[in-house]
């Protein structure tokens, strides 16, 4: 791989040991990919938290050790300097204000707080959400990023027209310290055109339907780049967030185009870059029902946990949850957790939404989610969620039964303790 003089100097240690280890990793990684060179980035989103039980023994040796091993793949412990470029923390395993509800040992929560302070002082912005684009990190079109988190990557590429591959803990750490990432894959113009066509034949408008369409698309195209045609409604941020997260879960979609909606596809022809369109994959009523059924992994209709907010809820979603719960009371055998970034939780609190949710017996959580933390309320057997992504992962990870449905169905189940949802 070709390096610039500045990159060669970093590799040779002119900017310190940590930068040298970072450049060494980027070279090994870039050469494995077959990348010709690195590209500059000033926007990194990674995972630097040290609060999982398997990392605890490392964190006890200090956070330099955690970063050296897990974010740089370094054989020795190096002192971690300030990040070279703006870097943010994605979702973590612990809600530092609700850790007791999660069943987290207070010493582990303290370690999380200490880690946040350590990494914060080194320039890592503690956004602590899977949706940095909801709390101020909104890349511009064409901007080169080094982001982790599949649901954030697909959003940044597709909806914002920024450019990032799915990075990992080590490459994001190295990018933060060097401001470089391999110039490969979706960073290059020629790799950003659609190569699959989805023809939507039914009305897709409400939130659950956007998740279903996304989940179908991921299954149908795996890690290809679909263009979605035949849409009759312009989706909002939160609908695109649900669609993308679902497509990235059932498949490995990192970029999609919606002609007339997303920035790199004014028309269907633009999406394909002038190439011939492939045979369309049709999404009709039959495919919708089959997708709905594939998201259900429960038989038992008595539910005891409602998980909302995956990816983390927007403020508009928080308002809707509050509106639907207003004046109601959650069944005594059911726990309801709503997940939203801390910054949005503050707006929800000021707007009175949190008060309504709590009065109904629900909890507003931030920083984490049950799939990432692997922590659920005690004694949970059956989960219901309005998220296709969470329905895909959480039952498998936690060995529980899971229902997927609309927000209205989830709220109804929260109140009655019984799942009556089905494809409407």
């Amino acid at each position: 791989m070709r390096l610039t003089d500045a990159e060669r100097a970093m590799l040779d240690g002119e900017r310190g040991d940590a930068c040298s280890r970072a450049m060494d990793l980027l070279v090994r990684y870039g050469e494995a990919l077959g990348a010709e060179c690195l590209i500059e980035t000033r926007n990194v989103a990674g995972a630097f938290n040290a609060s999982t039980p398997s990392v605890r023994h490392m964190a006890e040796d200090g956070f330099d050790r955690v970063f050296s091993e897990l974010n740089l793949d370094s054989d020795d412990v190096v002192e971690i300097p300030h990040m070279a470029v703006p870097t943010c923390q994605l979702i973590t395993g612990i809600d530092t204000e609700n850790y007791a509800l999660q069943g987290v040992d207070p010493a582990l929560a303290e370690m999380q707080v200490a880690g946040e302070r350590f990494f914060g002082r080194r320039g890592i912005n503690m956004m602590c959400t899977c949706t940095p684009y909801q709390v101020g990190n909104v890349p511009v079109r064409g901007e080169h990023l080094a982001w982790m988190e599949s649901s954030a990557v697909i959003y940044a590429n597709s909806v914002l027209g920024a450019r990032t591959n799915v990075e990992g803990k080590e490459s994001a750490g190295a990018a933060g310290l060097t401001g470089r990432i391999p110039y490969w894959g979706l960073h290059l113009d020629e790799n950003r055109f659609a190569d699959r066509l989805i023809e939507v034949e039914i009305d897709v408008d409400d939130m659950a339907d956007w998740g279903l369409l996304g989940y179908f698309v991921g299954h149908a195209v795996e890690d290809a780049k679909p263009a979605i045609s035949g849409l009759g409604h312009t989706p909002t941020l939160w609908k695109l967030k649900h669609f993308g997260a679902a497509a990235a879960s059932s498949g490995g979609v990192e970029l999609f185009h919606m002609p007339g909606i997303t920035p790199e596809a004014e028309t269907l022809d633009h999406a394909f870059g002038g190439s011939a369109r492939p045979q369309p994959i049709r999404y009709g009523a039959k495919e919708r029902i089959a997708t709905w059924e594939s998201l259900q992994s429960a038989q038992d209709r008595k539910v005891d946990f409602i998980m909302l907010g995956c990816p983390h809820n927007s403020i508009e979603q928080m308002a809707e949850v509050a509106q639907r719960l207003d004046g109601k009371r959650i069944h005594p055998d059911v726990a309801l957790w709503v997940h939203t970034p801390r910054a949005i939780a503050e707006v929800a609190r000021r707007s009175g939404y949190t008060e309504i949710i709590e009065a109904a017996g629900g909890v507003v959580m931030s920083d984490t989610c049950p799939a990432i933390s692997r922590r659920l309320p005690e004694g949970v057997r059956v989960i219901a969620t309005d998220s296709a992504k969470q329905a895909h992962y959480l039952p498998a990870i936690s060995s529980r039964q899971g229902w997927f449905g609309s927000l209205a169905q989830c709220v109804d189940a929260a109140v009655t303790g019984t799942w009556t949802g089905g494809p409407t």
Partner: protein
């Protein structure tokens, strides 16, 4: 065994080594991609994904032959943990390049080869003895019996 018999049982494939090193072990092959986070148990080196054909099987110490990675961006972190836990495959052979598999292979430090001159799924079966020489870019497959 005579030289001729040995050759009849041995197939050599050539490709591009992406993580250096050399290892010989029994093959474990799957035509299904593998998830990192949510798809494997990193303490045991087993596949846990509910609908995966290798569910419950261990790839620790084997030559893992698979199309590549899927799922969460936590892929490399899980392959990294496999190395730290001593439960990584002995070597890896894959066919579909992605940032997840490239970074995961690099941090697992396991000899890894891709871009082979023949479809490895048509040549390598579970139980074959496979030598991966990522420095030379060769895969030597010996059929049992």
């Amino acid at each position: 065994m005579t030289d001729t018999a040995e050759k009849a049982n041995t197939i050599v494939l050539r490709g591009r080594g992406i993580v250096p090193g050399k290892a010989t072990a029994e093959a474990l092959t799957t035509r299904q991609t593998i998830s990192g986070w949510g798809g494997i148990n990193e303490r045991e080196g087993t596949v846990i994904e509910l609908r995966h054909e290798l569910r419950g099987q261990s790839f620790a110490g084997k030559v893992l032959v698979f199309p590549g990675a899927k799922g969460s961006s936590g892929w490399s972190a899980y392959w990294h943990m496999l190395r730290l836990n001593g439960t990584a495959p002995a070597a890896m052979i894959f066919t579909r390049m992605s940032t997840k598999i490239a970074l995961g292979a690099v941090v697992s430090r396991v000899p890894t080869i891709t871009e082979l001159d023949r479809d490895p799924f048509e040549v390598i079966e579970t139980g074959d003895l496979v030598e991966v020489d990522a420095d030379a870019g060769t895969v030597t497959v010996t059929k049992p019996g």
